[in-house]
């Protein structure tokens, strides 16, 4: 896996808010069909990192997407008007569904949105493909016409996943996707993600403070501490044999 070319690559990214550094020299790689876990405490720069990955914030450094049409293009140097085109290759799943979904529109409409954005103008096709995506995300189709306002937390996350799937992105970014769900719902939701990863070979970046969630999904882990990558490695390796004192604290705190 390591010999492969990474799908997505951050190289020496720096980001400051005023005179405070939020990210210091952060580099990471996401390989095809891999789940990369990003862990860290609150304030470690996780959210900033995700916003930069999703091209919502400018930063210094390099950001490469190794897919046809984007090779050799540093995404961090794109103008605000070029960013949306690049962003179409990325999907974001938030902890709060309201950040990604239009809460008043039907679940199906939300899932159809990325297809519309791609230029699909046939109603029947939109409907069919959105339904297929909802089905893949194990969303109960009988509720496809309901707006997310009337859906449970777990169902909302499934709508978000379906929306991301419909988009057929290069990588899906997940921001604490299970935080706020009860344990049973978390477990079934993670089952869905694992199945999708296996079946569709999706590439994910999973950001979470919850090590058990990361352990359940991630192949590799990056540990962020005060804006710096302090440890990086295979998931089992990092969780079983943490090297950096902060990681050791984090793993110990799990118990």
């Amino acid at each position: 896996m390591v010999e492969e070319r990474p799908l997505l690559e951050l190289v020496k990214v720096w980001k400051a808010y005023g005179d405070r550094w939020a990210l210091k020299n952060v580099s990471l790689k996401l390989y095809p069909q891999e789940v990369l876990g990003v862990v860290g405490a609150s304030g470690s720069g996780k959210s900033t990192l995700l916003r930069i990955l999703y091209l919502q914030e400018p930063a210094q450094g390099e950001y490469w997407l190794n897919i046809p049409g984007w090779e050799g293009c540093n995404l961090l140097s794109l103008s605000p008007y070029e960013r949306p085109a690049a962003r179409r290759h990325l999907a974001m799943v938030y902890q709060e569904a309201a950040q990604a979904l239009r809460m008043g529109f039907a679940a199906l409409t939300n899932v159809a949105e990325p297809l519309v954005l791609k230029g699909e103008r046939r109603f029947e096709v939109l409907q069919k493909e959105a339904q297929a995506a909802l089905e893949r995300a194990d969303f109960p189709l009988a509720r496809a016409g309901d707006p997310p306002t009337f859906l449970s937390g777990g169902e909302r996350q499934r709508v978000q996943i379906a929306k991301a799937l419909a988009q057929e992105p290069t990588a899906i970014l997940l921001d604490e996707p299970t935080t706020g769900l009860d344990l049973l719902v978390q477990a079934t939701f993670l089952d869905t993600l694992r199945r999708l990863k296996r079946q569709l070979g999706m590439s994910l970046i999973l950001v979470s403070h919850d090590l058990s969630v990361v352990r359940a999904l991630a192949d590799r882990i990056v540990v962020l501490h005060q804006g710096e990558v302090v440890e990086e490695g295979l998931a089992d390796q990092v969780l079983e044999d943490p090297r950096h004192p902060f990681t050791q604290d984090l793993v110990a705190a799990r118990l």
Binding site: Y81, P84, R102, F105, A106, L108, T109, A112, E113, V116, L117, R121, R122, F123, E124, L126, Q127, G145
Partner: protein, 288 residues
Amino acid sequence: MNPKHSYAYLDPEAKREIRRKVLKALAIPAYQVPFASREMPLARGWGTGGLQLTLSLVGPEDVVKVIDQGADDSVNAANLRRFIAHVSGARTTTDALEATLIQSRHRIPEERLQEGQILILQVPIPEPLRYVEPSDAKARELHALGDYSLLWVDLFEEHLHYGHSRKGAAYPVLVHGRYVMDPSPLPRWDLPKLHQAAHITLFGAGREKRIYAVPPYTQVEPLAFVDRPFQPEPIVGSCRRTGCRHVFLNAIPQEDGSLAYEISDQGYMEKLLAGKESGPLFGEKQHG
């Protein structure tokens, strides 16, 4: 007229500004051009945008028609017509084909307008993205990007729940393949009339301080899915005075709770009632 006053109420600078903005609006079809909407002797929301356009363009040789909901004699139309005639000295008419300037709210006349005629619409809300993107700053960005997916998503939602779009007025149209425009408050019935029209259509939103335009012979397409084509309102009933059912009808509630119908375009109905010959209609295909 008192020579101490400026011709046609507005001072020359104001008129010049509006004419320049009109030229810009014509050069960029459906693009909303900001303008310094002046205080007018009527409240904003009562057609100040349309009135400023009319007063900037009117001359003594012009023939002016003013309609509101298709009617020449409604209070708003009568007031505006009297004011325009008073300050400009222009002649007024109810005949859509005779008029050089037509100020309207809600309707495009049924008779096909010709080259050289200018239709001026009073617009309440110029921004087609207003209901899907409340922030004007973001809406302008979406216009710049040509990203109208929000409107398509909205359309999808309507088709999903109701099988058709429920928008009567303010049905979004794509103009010249570039900008989406709010043709508010035109009913869906009138939208095909904008497509490749011979006349100029100007839109003035006084409260929102925007002018936009559809130049002659311009592509105007209502947003619609390929497999769910755009449809104007169906005509129900028939006109109680002429028996017609080939043009847009107003529904008039009756005392017994039923509805009576009457041709909405009053100038056209008058011609029919007087037995005068009318010009070809916009929707000539639907005629027989």
